[in-house]
C-alpha cells in the first residue's frame, strides 16, 4: 500500500506518454469518452479504425501485464442498479460535457484549457459529493 503512489506516478507517466504519442504522431487528443463515443454515435467518420486500434491497445496491454503484476482486481460493486445508473451517468455526462478524466483532465489541463479545468473541478467535486452521499449517508455503495 505504501508503494501505491509510486505506481500511480509510473502509471501516470505511461498515460501521459500515450497521450503525447497520440497527439504528436496521430494529431489527435487522447480522450477516452470521445474515442469511444464517436464510435457509438457514428460521428467517428474516417477515424473509425484509428479509434478501434487505440481501444484494442487499451484493453490488451493489461492482459499482457497481468501475469507480472501484483494485484488485479477492480473491486467493482455487484449492485446492478448502481452499475446501470453509474454507467448511464458516465456515458451521458462525458458526451454532453465532451470529455472525461483523460480528455478534460489529462489533455485539457496540461494545455491550460479553461474548459478542462472547469470540467475537472466540477466532476471531482460532484464525484466527492456522490461518494459521501451514497456511501456515508445512504449506504448504497
Amino acid at each position: 500500500m505504501e508503494m501505491d503512489w509510486i505506481w500511480g506516478l509510473v502509471g501516470g507517466l505511461l498515460i501521459g506518454s500515450g497521450g503525447a504519442a497520440y497527439l504528436l504522431v496521430n494529431g489527435r487528443i487522447m480522450g477516452a469518452s470521445g474515442i469511444i463515443g464517436g464510435l457509438i454515435d457514428g460521428s467517428a467518420g474516417n477515424t473509425k479504425w484509428e479509434r478501434l486500434a487505440f481501444l484494442v491497445g487499451v484493453a490488451l496491454l493489461p492482459v499482457v501485464l497481468t501475469p507480472i503484476y501484483r494485484e488485479v482486481n477492480t473491486h467493482i460493486t455487484d449492485n446492478i442498479a448502481v452499475l446501470v445508473a453509474a454507467g448511464l451517468l458516465v456515458g451521458l455526462g462525458t458526451r454532453i460535457a465532451n470529455g472525461c478524466t483523460s480528455g478534460h483532465g489529462v489533455c485539457g489541463m496540461s494545455r491550460l484549457s479553461l474548459r478542462g479545468f472547469a470540467a475537472t473541478a466540477v466532476y471531482i467535486v460532484t464525484g466527492g459529493v456522490g461518494v459521501v452521499l451514497f456511501r456515508h449517508l445512504l449506504g448504497v455503495i
Partner: protein, 145 residues
C-alpha cells in the same frame, strides 16, 4: 496503416498506465473521492504524472502545423463554459463516484472486470448513444421569461 499502428501503441501506453497505476481498481478511485473516509491520494499522482509528458507534448505541438503522420493538429480549445460542460460534468462526476469507473479504465479492465464491468459498459455505451439527443436539446436557447 501507420495511423492504426501508432494508435494501437498510444492506446497500449494508456492501458498499461491505467493498469499499473491502480486506476481500474474502483476502491482507489472512490478512495480519492471519499474525503470523509480513508482518503487515498493515488489519483493525484496519476493525474500529475500524466500531465508532465502531456504538457511537453502540447509545447511541441504548438510549434507544428501537422502531426508526424501529416494529419492536422487539434484546433485551439474553446474557452466557453456553457451549461453542457457543467451539466455533463455533474452527471459524469455522480456516475464516477457511484461506480469508481470512468471511460478509460472501463475499457482497460475488460479482461478482468467480470459481469459487473460488462453491465457498467453496456449502460455507459447506451448513455453515449442517447447523449446526442440530449445535447441537441441543451443547444436550444433558454426560453426567456
Amino acid at each position: 496503416m501507420a495511423r492504426l499502428i501508432f494508435a494501437f501503441v498510444a492506446g497500449g501506453l494508456f492501458g498499461a498506465g491505467l493498469f499499473v497505476s491502480g486506476m481500474t481498481d474502483t476502491t482507489k478511485v472512490q478512495g480519492w473521492l471519499d474525503v470523509f473516509g480513508n482518503w487515498d491520494p493515488t489519483l493525484a499522482f496519476v493525474m500529475g504524472g500524466a500531465m508532465i509528458p502531456m504538457a511537453l507534448a502540447w509545447l511541441v505541438a504548438q510549434r507544428r502545423r501537422s502531426s508526424v503522420l501529416g494529419t492536422p493538429m487539434p484546433p485551439k480549445p474553446s474557452t466557453e463554459i456553457d451549461r453542457k460542460l457543467v451539466l455533463g460534468s455533474v452527471m459524469f462526476g455522480m456516475g464516477w463516484g457511484l461506480a469508481g469507473l470512468c471511460p478509460g479504465p472501463s475499457i482497460a479492465a475488460i479482461s478482468y472486470g467480470g459481469a459487473g464491468l460488462f453491465i457498467f459498459l453496456a449502460a455507459m455505451l447506451t448513455g453515449m448513444a442517447i447523449a446526442p439527443f440530449l445535447r441537441a436539446r441543451l443547444d436550444k436557447p433558454v426560453p426567456a421569461e
